[in-house]
Subunit: 232 residues, 2 copies
């Protein structure tokens, strides 16, 4: 956010500053995602970034602020893209209610693509936002609420139009289920025994079909104890 001098004397210093700051953010993103916040020492980050502890504290002020910056850098554009996808789908529908599939796709695809490009770039095994979604640190929870709150509200509106006979509470709960699926997959924890046999390019479609069908399904109280029924 601060402007660098353009003169030739300070040019190298200016470039180096940007580089150090970004190297720190990159290293923090990778290590926090791999080992969690408490499991990662500030020194491990600075070592990976080939910088000193002081440089990190100069740029960010504290370890917690570094996490905040690294998380925000990925999460903010991600949620912006989610809203853009939903808006453009609504524009294309010209006032007609969207498919449940189209709505959940608008929410899931941005994170899914972020995961794919991350897999290609480095050897990180999961997106930082998904990995830290369940981190016990308090700052993560508050940042999560602040950034996801409005987005979820916007998607619940769209879902309410697609499924007008369902209560807001039901839809909100179903959307929490969807988030559970997403976090599990994007964080890389969903690589169970035979689940990896599904080719990567079909994964998003499966997630969309699963969650859309789940959202559409009404709750069947009492279905829990029966062993025989109309459906298989």
């Amino acid at each position: 956010m601060s402007f660098q001098p353009v003169g030739s004397a300070a040019a190298r210093a200016g470039r180096a500053q940007q580089d150090t700051k970004n190297r720190l953010l990159d290293a923090a993103e990778r290590l926090f995602a791999e080992r969690g916040f408490e499991g990662t020492s500030l020194r491990a980050v600075t070592r990976a970034a080939e910088a000193s502890v002081s440089a990190a504290n100069y740029h960010f002020g504290s370890k917690e602020a570094l996490l905040h910056a690294a998380l925000l850098r990925r999460l903010e554009p991600l949620n912006r893209r989610r809203l853009e996808c939903l808006a453009s789908a609504e524009d294309a529908a010209r006032g007609a209610p969207l498919t449940v599939e189209a709505i959940v796709a608008a929410f899931l695809r941005p994170g899914f693509e972020a995961r794919r490009s991350l897999q290609a770039d480095q050897a990180s095994d999961g997106h930082i936002a998904a990995r830290l979604y369940t981190d016990p640190h308090g700052m993560v929870a508050s940042l999560k609420a602040e950034l996801f709150g409005p987005v979820i509200g916007r998607f619940l509106e769209a879902l309410g139009r697609a499924l007008p006979d369902r209560s807001l509470a039901e839809l909100a709960l179903g959307f929490q289920f969807l988030i559970g699926v997403m976090v599990h997959v994007i964080s890389g924890h969903g690589g169970g025994p035979a689940a990896t046999a599904i080719p990567e390019h079909q994964l998003l479609d499966h997630m969309i079909s699963f969650t859309a069908a789940g959202l559409r399904a009404a709750s069947h109280p009492g279905s829990t104890a029966e062993t025989a029924g109309g459906r298989r």
Copy 2:
């Protein structure tokens, strides 16, 4: 596992030993669940258990072994109950294939009830097994694979009989989605904005309906880009 002397001289020592060990396990369970493994110092555990660090290392050997014991104490009976529920449902069905609902209920209900009794007992905000399911620590992952692997395999068999036209890979992936939903809810992270408006006693039914419908749904490739379709 070790037998205590029954004589009156060592009776108090024997009882105290058991108490200390259990107090340590209780405190470790609560704190590890709240703050994660790396975020919890052994001292914080022993302080909460009103014991010394040495007592913890005497009984368990290390902080990591304490986590292992605390996690195993809850996870082992939980997974045993899951298998029992599935077996008794299959017995009651007398050879007929089970409902998808009955299968996912057998998997979900034990964890759900553990969460409920935990909510009643103490102020812990989530089951340790669910909270630590995503913990980056390596031991958690290996214990998870060791304990969940056979259980998941057994449930996939039952699902294969209920949905014979689906590939094993598809079912395994769908079951991973189900686990994502479960971990999200049981760990207490699924308490979003309006989702808490659902009464507690309906939560399990909603989870079952959502995941069963998701498992039944086939993937619709290309459903991701369309904005209008036959369904709403």
